[in-house]
Structure formats: structure tokens, C-alpha cells
Assembly symmetry: C2
Homo-oligomer: 223 residues x 2
DNA sequence: GCGCGCAAACTGTGATCACAATAATGGGGA
DNA sequence: TCCCCATTATTGTGATCACAGTTTGCGCGC
């Protein structure tokens, strides 16, 4: 039944599973607070429980999944105002810092790349395509952060983004896709073009801040 | 051969393995840059490769172990000045923040607990007992951070501490156990006793800053 | 004596099975 | 009709095996 794959192709199965669950979490396909199980995920993805176990362990270490200490059962962390506040603080420190560092190494090719991605972001917003928006927005931010050349900080940002992901779905559920329409991407691009570290820091901070405010409002309203 | 343990005792095997490897990393028993393998770790710990796999995945997600993307082999991340600088920045943001929050909720029992731990720290320093010092120092800081009641930030601090751990061994190797003799623990305790959030923030920041400076010097000297 | 090449050992990965513990569900009694 | 207890299903965990890729190392030929 199972066609044993050639292997050494590219990515291991557990990485694909990781990415699949990650996407499911970010786009909110798995509702926060809901319990999941290894075998159910494995069946859903058509793989054995083994790679799912690996992926889940990784996600749990990144706090994208919670493990009930009593019965060791898995669940999606529920969205609380307290958690959101902590995640906001952390993001507002790491991500502007990464943007500032990136500004110092920015060049024309990066600017062009960002403009292309931002056009995609706007297109997704115009169409109201939530998944596409979230993917493009993620790509925009991390295209910048990657340029900072700060592996450790970038990984921190990635982990935070993953934890914040589920919150975004709440925003869309409340105010619709145009709830996040206003962003500071243009400002950020301009600052990077001018190699203005402080400007990039401020632009990203403002972008994040506005987004987190909307999430906070949504969480409070849904409580 | 293997006596199947009663199970439901307390902790799962993979958690014990995780803790064992974690300690080995922090105390520097596994040299940075060195490669490790699942089976060798399993044999050394007297368990099957299975729980080791779980523990290693977790450590890799926390960036306490590195996975070579080409051949998927495991190794201990090597200590570079760049990594240390990023870790320092991150710690200097998270940990003082946690200390400040903890100060708001501090009480007499916490102060007493911290005084006891700090006495142990001093004792370990006096004896030149490196392992005991590192354990006690860790206990001191996280007894404070735990009081902040900020789960997300505390987890971030834990991850950073784990990544910094191997660097500390370098300090001891260079300047001896009294290289870190001067700490700001007394200041921190005083600030917590007075519920002085800013004082606690400053004390912890100074404590970290001094320690990281010594590590930086040690890394540069050993390069 | 020095390389080259092939075989053996070792690596991570995935599947399958066994086991104990918890959760879910059913029926039978009051 | 409702509640309690026993049976069943499902859960995470760990062991063992199979497999393919990589590294290691040893012996043979030059």
C-alpha cells in the first residue's frame, strides 16, 4: 500500500507533517482549545503515527501545541489575553530589532523582492483571500528578517509568529479580511531602501503594534 | 532483559533523557561542535533509541542541538561570538522584564527562598564546585522568573539559558570558578523585598551583563 | 610506501507491534 | 428516568525491525 519513497529526495516526511500541522494551526483549521491525537493526525495525513510524533514534539517544544501534563494528551493552546500580551511584547522587541539590522544590509534586489511580495499582500487583501494574505504577510516580514543575518533572533521571531498565528484567525472572524488592511509595509520598504535602521525599526514596530491591537480587541470581544 | 518499569510512576523516559542531555550540554560534558548520534546516546543512557529521538527532537527545536541539513546528523552548536551577542541581547531584554514583573508579586516566602538559594550559590563558589554553582544559579534566576507568572516569557528565558549554557563552561575553563564570583543577587533580593520593579530589573540586567561580558572575553580569547 | 576502491559499520527515518492508562460508552439496576 | 459501574475504544509511550544513505576503514594493487 505504502509506496516506500525513494528517500534522499528532499524533505523528510516528518518535516512535511510539521509544515502541514503548522499551516493548519496558523490558518486556524484546528480550533484553539481542541484536542488532537497522534493517530488521528496520522490518519488524516495518510502517514504512520511515527513522523507525526516527531512533528508534534517539535511543535510542542515551540509551544505551538500544548501537552496536558496529567494525561499527556495534546491540545491546541487556547487564546487568552494574557498570552497575547506576552507575545506582543516579545514580538515588539525582536522583530523591529531584526528590521533595523536588515536595513544595514539592504540592497536593491531585496527592495524589489519586497515590493513584489507586498503587491501580493495587497492583492490577497483585495480578494479577501485570508490564507493567501497570511502566507504573503509572513513572507514579507521574514524576507526582511532573513536579511538581518541573525540566526538566533530570527528563530525567536519564527517561534513567536507560530504562536501568534491562531490569534489572527480570530481577527478575520470578527472584522473580515479588511480588518488588517492597513499595514506599514510601504514605510518599511522605504526605510530599507534608504538603509535607515531606525526608520525600519519604527515601521515594523508600528505594523506589528496595529495588528496586535486588533487581535487584542478581537480576543476581548470573543471572551 | 529490560525490566519494563511500572509506568505511570512519574516522568516518562524521554523526559529523563531530555533532562540528562540538557544537563550534559549545560555543564559542557558534551563539547560544543562535537557530533552525537541517537544510538550512542541511547547506549550511554541505557535506553532504546526511541526516547532519545524524542528528547533530541525537542532539544533541536530549542536550538540546543543542531541538525546538519545535508546529512541530518546531530551536533552540539559551536560557540561563536555572533551567537553569543544575539543571545546576550535577547537575555538582556527578557530576563530583566521577568524580574520586574516578579517584583510586583514578591513576598516574604520568596525572599526567604532566594536567600537560601543564594547561600548555596556562594557555597558552591567557595568550594569551586562548578556543577553545583550552575545548578544553584539557574535555580536562583528561575525562582524569580517563575514568580512573574508570565508563561511565555519564562519559556523564552529557559530556551535562551539552555543555549547559553555551553558558553559558561568556557568561562570556567579560562578564569576558574571564581571568574563569576561577583554577582548582583543581593541587590536583586533587596529589590524584590521592596517590591521595587525597576530595581529588580536593573539588578538582573547588571548580573546578566557582567556574566555575558566575561563569556565574551572568554570566547574571544579562545578563538 | 602511497592511493584507490570496495565492503562493513553506523547514521537518521519510518513502520509495526505491545502495553498500560485514560476516556468514552454501553447496559443494567433503582 | 437517572445514575453507576463494567466493558470497550483510544490515547501516548517504548521496543524492535527494516531500509537507504553516509561515513569509516581496511586491504589490495600499483
Amino acid at each position: 500500500m505504502k509506496t516506500r519513497k525513494p528517500l534522499a529526495d528532499q524533505t523528510a516526511v516528518h518535516d512535511q507533517v510539521y509544515e502541514a500541522i503548522r499551516q493548519a494551526l496558523i490558518t486556524g483549521r484546528i480550533a484553539p482549545g481542541k484536542g488532537v491525537s497522534l493517530r488521528s493526525l496520522a490518519a488524516e495525513l495518510g502517514v504512520s503515527p511515527m513522523p507525526v510524533r516527531d512533528a508534534v514534539r517539535r511543535l510542542a517544544a515551540e509551544r505551538a501545541l500544548a501537552i496536558n501534563p496529567a494525561n499527556k494528551r495534546l491540545s491546541v493552546p487556547s487564546l487568552t489575553a494574557d498570552r497575547l500580551e506576552q507575545l506582543s511584547m516579545a514580538r515588539l522587541w525582536v522583530e523591529p530589532e531584526l528590521a533595523a539590522r536588515a536595513a544595514l544590509d539592504a540592497d536593491a534586489s531585496l527592495v524589489r523582492q519586497l515590493q513584489a511580495i507586498d503587491a501580493d499582500v495587497d492583492e490577497a487583501l483585495r480578494l479577501g483571500d485570508v490564507d493567501r494574505y497570511m502566507t504573503a504577510n509572513h513572507a514579507f516580514h521574514f524576507a526582511i528578517y532573513e536579511r538581518a543575518g541573525a540566526e538566533v533572533l530570527e528563530a525567536m521571531a519564527g517561534g513567536l509568529w507560530l504562536q501568534v498565528g491562531p490569534f489572527m484567525r480570530v481577527v478575520f472572524g470578527r472584522v473580515g479580511a479588511d480588518g488588517l488592511a492597513a499595514d506599514r509595509h510601504a514605510e518599511a520598504i522605504a526605510a530599507l531602501k534608504a538603509k535607515d535602521a531606525d526608520g525600519a525599526r519604527r515601521a515594523i514596530a508600528a505594523d506589528l503594534s496595529e495588528g496586535m491591537d486588533k487581535m487584542r480587541a478581537a480576543v476581548e470581544a470573543s471572551a
